[in-house]
């Protein structure tokens, strides 16, 4: 191991981490917004919008992020719509993630037996109250493990960004290997930096999960 070289590459990896985290989290945020919107549309069974959401979810769940990025970055300019590489990354992650988030939230909502809502209403709650105080807390607590898994999945998907010329962690490592052929050093740094990015998410996620279990089972 050439530690001197590793120290030299460190600033480049830091830049790459900053870019990966920035685009990654913007994408995750967008994914949450889209996911919540779609889940509500589907849960409320809103006409027309429901079909649109279903088509969107199936379209983006069943195509790889790589293909979506290619489409956004290389195909859209042919019809005069140019999007910057960074925006492509955010949009790609957001659209892919939105489909997954929607499904996770929806399955959480659907996992609560309808009888609970009916019981709450027979006790005098309005439909909105039943949803707010009975259904939602349980649904959220059931969705959280899936949502956290989605977040980690999305952050790892950033590794295909090289295709649209974004210098994310993966591309930075590949690029340095191509130039200086220090494979062991670069790949070790790569693993370490991915852990720096994802371990906190994973640990925090477990904490949140445990905390939210209270909604279902009490303290």
């Amino acid at each position: 191991m050439d530690f001197e070289a590793m120290r030299e590459y460190l600033p480049l990896f830091k830049d790459a981490l900053a870019l990966t985290v920035r685009i990654g989290w913007q994408g995750v945020l967008l994914a949450f917004l889209i996911g919540i919107a779609c889940a509500i549309i589907q849960h409320m069974r809103l006409p027309v919008l429901r079909t649109v959401a279903a088509v969107y979810i199936e379209l983006f769940r069943n195509t790889p992020l790589l293909v979506q990025l290619f489409f956004l970055y290389f195909a859209l300019p042919k019809i005069g719509l140019r999007i910057s590489a960074e925006l492509c990354g955010v949009l790609g992650l957001g659209l892919l993630g939105g489909a997954y988030m929607a499904e996770t939230i929806r399955s959480g909502l659907e996992s609560i037996a309808p009888i609970q809502s009916e019981s709450a209403q027979s006790l005098g709650m309005t439909g909105m109250q039943a949803f707010r105080y009975v259904i939602l807390p349980q649904a959220v607590s059931r969705s959280v493990p899936g949502l956290i898994a989605n977040v980690i999945f999305l952050l790892k998907e950033t590794s295909v960004f090289s295709t649209v010329s974004l210098m994310d962690l993966m591309f930075t490592a590949k690029d340095l290997i191509g130039m200086y052929a220090k494979t062991m050093e670069c790949l070790t740094l790569l693993v370490v930096f991915y852990l720096i990015m994802l371990l906190p998410v994973s640990v925090l996620g477990s904490l949140v999960e445990r905390r939210l279990r209270h909604a279902e089972f009490g303290p």
Binding site: P77, R82, S162, S165, F171, D175, A181, T183
Partner: protein
Amino acid sequence: MKTAILRRVLSAVVIFTLALSLSVIAYADDGDFRTLDEIKDSGVINIGVFSDKSPFGYVDENGDYQGYDVYFAERIGQDLGVDINYVSTEAANRIEYLQTGKVDIILANFTVTEERAEEVDFALPYMNVALGVVSPEDAVIESLDDIGEDDQVIVISGTTAETYLVKNYPDIKLQKYDAYAEAKTALENGNGAAWANDNTEVIAFAIENPGFTVGIPSLGSADTIAPAVTKGNDTLLDWLNEEIEALGEEEFFHADYEATLLDTYGADYEDTLVVEGGVAAGTDAAAAND
């Protein structure tokens, strides 16, 4: 209590040993190659070529590998009396593929540089090359000083153009891609002000794509392109050198040019590009440069 501590210490030792042996294996893997006799015995040689770099190494409409590099590869297989297994490679993978033994020879327009020569062994050269820059006709870049602060220059990760610009023009913003096809599409779409690469490649691009012109036809040092083998694979290296010298007598690489490159470059570039018998005019200059 004591056994619990002991257990922890023991597991730490085991993990440490495992990690250590893994890294040892990783290093031991470095010298992984097949000698000439092993290749002949197996009846198959693995050759790494480009699949998207027309007219040097590409896959034609029938799914067959074609191009200047492939024409030479075919001859190698024929003279060795073995079948060829083509392995498609990207620019940044070429050294890796040799070091991990995925291929026996890299014949993927591999420019000889000092850095690379530390990692792999180059045989005698079979082509000349320099860098070039292609840009749109309505905003031609004729000097690297023309490049504005906000402009980005497209390069392909792992190429000599990238290394050259990083070293000599650290202020120029690079837009990096990992495959030729993507870099070309990006230039067509106007994502960058220009594309820097081997001049052979940018000239071919400008000829095939109206609206683009090569504003800088020659940049950096005059280099050569040669086959590469895994470091220390002397039997294969010696055979390749003898082969290239012998092929010089029949003007093989001129025939190669006429079969694969003539359509793209015309006859004018034949003597500039072809290196016959492993004797390149600019070899000394290239070694002194850098």
